[in-house]
């Protein structure tokens, strides 16, 4: 069966520090991968999606970036965090277009 893992689960980072959130999917190949952000009590905002290695589409211009160095690995990064980057970050995957999207456990980021 397929599983998705993301880490760390929680982190507190100072303003201006770098960020790296990692996500891996097991039990499948060539998945579509996604990063979403959810502010407290709000909906899910699509940040990045990827349909293949090295292929990244950005939905929201900001100081975040994403990379897909391997087929089942998706990384969300920032060189310098802002207070507004605080939120709940969710990695997700689908086996292909027009299929159910499955979410990871989420990562709580607090920028102080």
């Amino acid at each position: 069966s397929q599983t998705i893992h993301q880490w760390p689960a929680t982190l507190v980072q100072p303003v201006g520090s770098p960020l790296s959130l990692e996500c891996t999917v097991e039990g499948t190949s060539n998945p579509n991968l996604y990063w979403y952000r959810q502010a407290a009590g709000r909906g899910l905002q699509l940040l990045f999606y990827s349909v293949g290695i090295g292929q990244i589409s950005s939905e929201v211009p900001q100081n975040l970036s994403a990379s897909r160095p391997q087929d089942r690995q998706f990384i969300l990064s920032s060189k310098k965090l802002l207070l507004s980057d605080s939120g709940f970050y969710l990695c997700a995957w689908t086996p292909g277009s027009g299929n159910t999207i499955y979410f990871g456990e989420g990562s709580w980021l607090t920028v102080v």
């Binding site: 579509n32 996604y34 979403y36 709000r42 909906g43 899910l44 699509l46 999606y49 349909v51 589409s57 939905e59 969710l90 997700a92 689908t94 277009s97 027009g98 299929n99 159910t100 999207i101 499955y102 979410f103 990871g104 456990e105 989420g106 709580w108």
Partner: protein, 109 residues
């Protein structure tokens, strides 16, 4: 641009009653729709989906209705239980998935 939104931000339902959560979407070309349930501090969990060639789909205690004419989607939960308390999101997508802001369902004992 594309958008998916919900009519009611909070819905309170008596335990045992049926719940109906509504959703509107704007992209008439959308052909795949999903409902998710999110409990506090967790990632969204898949509930049920429907494709645009269907009007209705039933699962265990849940039914999704799709009205393409008015671009409306609804989730019906039968015999609502305390464990159904959560935030519910609708989403539409093909290669990328757009979510609404969510409806909080509160089940009253």
């Amino acid at each position: 641009g594309e958008s998916v939104g919900l009519h009611l931000p909070t819905l309170s339902v008596q335990e045992g009653d049926n719940s109906i959560i509504n959703c509107a979407y704007s992209n008439s070309a959308s052909d795949y729709f999903i409902w998710y349930k999110q409990e506090s501090g967790k990632g969204p969990q898949f509930i049920i989906d429907i494709r645009s060639n269907m009007d209705k789909r039933q699962g265990q205690r849940v039914t999704v209705l799709l009205n393409k004419t008015v671009k409306h989607l609804s989730l019906q939960i039968a015999a609502t239980q305390p464990g159904d308390s959560a935030v519910y999101f609708c989403a539409e997508g093909t290669y990328k998935y757009i979510f609404g802001t969510g409806t909080r369902l509160k089940v009253l004992a």
